[in-house]
């Protein structure tokens, strides 16, 4: 196999990975930031970084876990770099809780059930605002991306025990929010 053929194959494989994992990475970043533009930008940065380091990907974890780790780090760096709160507030496009909770498939619910479900979704968003960065990340990976604890641990660089502890605290806060602060 020539060097050019190997490079072509690697490029094709990377393109396939982008196609299959892009929606998931975007969704995670969207849920983390509640900002479509920012999620879009960070997703692009994530895949750009992945492309640059694709040669170094040894396949110790799945491509999804590897990409998710990059996305988590990018998101962390992004918020860390925005020290000036004024500009952070001015530049952000983050939607409010009501807008974020609007997206709920009606399914077979009645109008009343639909309203109640939206209110509850809004309460989960509200509870998420009170979570630490790690708790929020772990919570989203578990309950939105439905990842296994081992994958979350690999993506976040935490031990499974720590992941469980963060999840437990996050769930307690969500439960408290749903139960009226109990």
């Amino acid at each position: 196999m020539t060097a050019e053929t190997a490079e072509d194959l690697a490029a094709q494989e990377f393109a396939r990975i982008v196609e299959s994992h892009r929606p998931q990475i975007f969704r995670f970043l969207l849920a983390s930031t509640r900002d479509i533009d920012l999620a879009e930008t960070l997703t692009q940065e994530c895949f750009l970084k992945a492309h640059r380091n694709w040669k170094h990907f040894r396949g110790d974890s799945t491509a999804m876990t590897w990409l998710m780790r990059i996305a988590i780090n990018l998101q962390k760096d992004h918020w860390r770099n925005r020290r000036l709160q004024f500009w952070r507030q001015t530049r952000t496009n983050a939607v409010d809780l009501d807008e974020a909770s609007e997206w709920l498939p009606s399914g077979e619910r009645t109008a009343e059930q639909q309203i109640l479900a939206r209110e509850q979704v809004a309460q989960v968003w509200k509870a998420m605002d009170g979570l630490s960065d790690r708790q929020r990340t772990v919570f989203l990976l578990r309950y939105v991306e439905e990842q296994e604890l081992s994958d979350i641990a690999a993506a976040t660089g935490l031990s499974e025990g720590t992941v469980k502890a963060h999840l437990s605290r996050a769930l307690s806060k969500v439960r408290a929010e749903l139960g009226g602060g109990r």
Partner: protein, 144 residues
């Protein structure tokens, strides 16, 4: 019972695991639907980017106006303070000059008073006629 009242009443009951599972399921569906919609709508991002760009420009413009305003106010205030200080100094100098003139005038008056008192000393009885003659002579000169 209205929906809100019903919701409030439900809020005071502990959330069961099943209910929590259901809420988390709804939350998951909601995020998936939102993300899918954001991915599908290609114009949305461009429009939002444009809006984002305008907001950025507006924020910078506001920032510049504030900076120029603050700087301008500072410069004006500095200039104003300098003018006031100059006026105060001039006024003080004038007052000092007036006080000096007043003091000089007062010193002159005191000197004249001392001289007068020295001159208008009581004349001994033997010299009285001579003094009267001098007074008369002075009054005649004044009358001429």
């Amino acid at each position: 019972m209205s929906l809100n009242e019903k919701n409030m009443a439900e809020r005071h009951e502990p959330v069961s695991d099943a209910a929590l599972e259901e809420v988390l399921g709804n939350f998951r569906q909601s995020v998936h639907a939102w993300s899918d919609a954001a991915c599908i709508a290609p114009g949305t991002t461009a429009w939002r980017s444009a809006r984002h760009g305008w907001r950025l420009v507006a924020a910078w413009a506001l920032g510049c106006v504030l900076a120029v305003g603050t700087l301008g106010t500072g410069v004006y205030e500095h200039h104003h303070q300098r003018v006031l200080a100059q006026m105060r100094a001039a006024q003080q100098a004038r007052q000092q000059q007036l006080a000096a003139q007043q003091r000089a005038r007062q010193a002159d008056e005191e000197l004249l008073a001392t001289v007068d008192s020295d001159i208008s000393r009581t004349v001994p009885a033997a010299m009285e006629p001579l003094a009267q003659l001098m007074d008369e002579g002075e009054s005649q000169q004044a009358g001429n």
